[in-house]
């Protein structure tokens, strides 16, 4: 382990001198806050081979990193800034510590966006969002973080810099290390820079809410939405508690977001508003919904094949209480519950009969599945971080 009084002109000592916040940041371990990739490389190379590191972006999701027991923290929040943006290519390159909000601001000025809307809002970093593959309602139609990431720069556990993918929108040169790293939670390397694919902002962005009448007729409702002339940008169901939290009447609702040309959106909205209990709402509901996350609340996702989600939804909503926030992405078959651990147990029991798969968020999901898949996952971890230096305890298959 490297000690804080370590000699020389290192990134760590710089960080300590310059940033009192980092010093008071707590935790018994050493904190490094490199402001360049080269500094990060030095930190990894100069530390003893068995030093373990907790990786941190903006630290907005501290409940995740606190589970990690490590000798030192690698704080990437100084490794920030947009390094390339070519609007005509719809691509942007930024360092890992760049905030999603900063990217949103710069791209909006060019009529473009990076359509990643993870729970927690846009106060997190690009690196963490890709590393954790965090996604929100837009993922159902626009894509997942793995689809947005075109290229990555990675510093591995041995302090070796590698790259994955590139800056072009289509690329099959070699094995796909981008997809391997996205969602690997930093256990196969630290992301230092990413090139992402942008999209044109829809000309208009309008939304409506359709009240879910006592959870009945869900399947029919979703089927009828499939016949819409314009496919929605997002479709998310919220339970009454969550609806009230985001300023809607306290009733279970399906929120629909439409984007596209004014005429197509207007026509589709007309179709939607014919549903009983439907009314137009402001599209600002979406950032509000994303930002309702409170750190420390346990999020658990359950998933089934999409055609079975109505029964999963009903089971989960019924198992919760007045404090439970439940929302769901029907087309992905996902129902997500934000509730204290005690209540999660009750919910879990209700989902067993629905045959749902479970993902405990933030626990750093283990590599689960049948033995052959677990073995494969373990081999991957062994190949890239044999000594478990990076985010130890995360993505190991003995945890679940």
């Amino acid at each position: 382990m490297r000690d804080s009084a370590g000699s020389g002109d290192t990134a760590m000592t710089h960080a300590r001198r310059r940033d009192p916040i980092l010093e008071s940041g707590g935790g018994p371990e050493v904190r490094h806050a490199p402001s360049t990739e080269a500094e990060l490389v030095d930190i990894l190379r100069e530390s003893a081979p068995h030093t373990t590191f907790r990786i941190r972006g903006a630290g907005t999701w501290t409940s995740v990193t606190e589970r990690i027991c490590a000798d030192a923290t690698l704080d990437l929040s100084r490794l920030r800034g947009i390094t390339a943006y070519v609007p005509g290519d719809l691509t942007l390159t930024a360092r890992a510590g760049t905030l999603l909000s900063e990217i949103a601001e710069v791209t909006r000025a060019n009529g473009q966006w990076l359509p990643l809307d993870p729970w927690g809002g846009s106060t997190g970093t690009l690196g963490a969002t890709l590393a954790t593959a965090s996604a929100g309602p837009l993922a159902a139609t626009i894509g997942l973080p793995r689809d947005a990431a075109l290229g990555l720069t990675i510093v591995d556990a041995a302090g070796i810099r590698t790259t994955a993918g590139g800056r072009v929108v289509k690329n099959v040169a070699g094995f796909d290390l981008v997809r391997l790293q996205v969602g690997a939670w930093g256990t196969l390397g630290i992301l230092t820079e990413a090139t992402v694919r942008l999209r044109p902002l829809p000309a208009v962005d309008r939304s409506c809410a359709i009240q879910l009448l006592e959870n009945a007729g869900l399947a029919e409702l979703i089927t009828s939405l499939r016949q819409l002339t314009l496919g929605p940008l997002a479709l998310e169901a919220v339970n009454s508690t969550l609806a009230a939290t985001i300023g809607l009447p306290p009733a279970a609702m399906l929120l629909v977001r439409l984007g596209g040309s004014p005429r197509a959106v207007a026509q589709t909205l007309d179709q939607l508003l014919r549903h009983p209990g439907a009314h137009e709402i402001s599209s600002s509901i979406w950032p509000t919904l994303a930002a309702t996350e409170s750190d420390g609340a346990a999020g658990v996702r359950y998933s089934v094949r999409p055609s079975q989600w109505p029964s999963l939804w009903t089971a989960v909503v019924d198992a919760g209480d007045a404090t439970t926030r439940v929302h769901a992405t029907p087309s992905r078959g996902i129902v997500r519950v934000v509730a204290p651990a005690a209540l999660q147990d009750r919910v879990r029991q209700s989902t067993v009969s629905a045959g749902a798969m479970e993902i405990v968020e933030g626990a750093g999901p283990g590599v689960r599945g049948l033995p052959a898949l677990r073995a494969l996952g373990r081999r991957v971890r062994d190949a890239f971080d044999p000594h478990r230096r990076l985010n130890p305890g995360v993505m190991d298959d003995d945890r679940s």
Binding site: P49, V86, D89, T91, G111, G143, R146, D147, I154, A158, I160, T162, T163, G166, V168, V169, K170, N171, V172, A173, G174, F175, D176, L177, R179, L180, V182, G183, L188, R199, P200, L201, T229, L230, S261, R263, A264, A266, Q267, T268, S303, V304, R305, P306, S307, R332, G333, A356, M357, V367, R368, G369, L373, A375, L376, G377, V380, A383, H387, D397
Partner: protein, 473 residues
Amino acid sequence: MIPPGLDRELADVVGTRWVLTRPGELLAYTSDGLPGYRHDPALVVLPGTRDEALAVVRLLARRNVAFVPRGAGTGLSGGALADGTVVLGLNRLRRILEIDVDNGWAVVEPGVVNAHLSRAVAAYGLHYAPDPSSQSACTIGGNVAENAGGPHCLKYGVTVNHVLALTVALADGSVVTLGSTEGEVSGYDLLGAFVGSEGCFGVVLDATVRLTINPPAVRTMLADFPTIDSAARATSAIIAAGLVPAALEMMDQPTIQAVEASIYAAGYPVDAAAVLLIELDGAAAGLDDDVARVAAACRDGGARDVRVATTEADRQRLWQGRKKAFGAMGRVSSHLVVQDAVIPRTRLPDVLAEIGRIGREEGVTVCNVFHAGDGNLHPNIPYNGNDAGETQRVERAMVRIMEACIAAGGSVTGEHGIGVDKLPYMPRLFSEATLGSMCRLRDCFDPERRMNPGKVVPVRSCREWAMSPAARR
């Protein structure tokens, strides 16, 4: 190279008829869609069921024999060739196992031909979106292994965006399911890593693929440009206007002339320097507004004419010319190099100008037909392969073109893969450390490198990586 008696052991699994060993029978397997490479396999085994395929993989594991999976053999990077080893042909596994209309997916065997799947689900108003120009022949297994693209991938994404789950046999004979139809899985995205692994990670035994709802309305248009540069600039203007066409393809004059001189003649203007074939789809309302905006962008960019297909037959004809363009070129001369590179879209005008210059300097005819919206180039050169001097000039031109694409910040393949053809470019694109990471990933799936040996990553890189203990720390 293969153990004696292997043919008989394989015949016990699949039947004598399906083990090919005679030179005449093997001939069809000595090359793929890129006839410049010829490798002689020791034998070809053609299982008829997934169980047989798995039994073959296990037998080859027990006997420690290297092998190369193969679909329809339409690959354009020399990826499905076996040099003295075994070809495992999967094109007899062509059953569609399940069509789930409610959830919008199908489970298919690897040998199902791409276009057959769309045909099978057409009655439900669905189709399989990735549409390589070879779709009437290539297989889903080959598409998964190459992460194939196609004209409509501009809007709908490439193969990986349409694969939900794969059942895969690893080289050691174990079977894993990557991905899931039951929503999410936790753990590394090994499904994403597998797609595009060019037969080096495992054999696809079945694939669950997403089916896409047919768009309610489609408009297909052809814009005619007096210069390549104006067509390239119009491409950027369309994208910059915030429009995402379903497809945005470009063909230059030599391509147009080859197509028009063939049975695939589509009525393209033979005097145009380049045409853009543009398709818009989606809700009928507003679609004609978008058509007008695209047409305006083309006209502002100097298009002489923009026409919209008025009937389905007209539309099919416009597409036929594009999809059969490689074939049309193949008829012009005895040999054809088909290339595949990607550049940032905004670099199209200068890279196309550079390609034109290289062609003139080397005295070869470059035919450009490509996915302009993605910046995915296909500079192809028809030539006489029996003329040693011309062959040499063609090779030199191709290397120069690929170097120009790399210099423009691009990549040497957008959809055809590395195979053996692009191996020499890999060290120019990636550092030794990055190539080492690719090898480490491959070794997780197949530590003995028995599957498709010698492909994708130059062997030298892997060896060096393995020898360096510091790097492995």
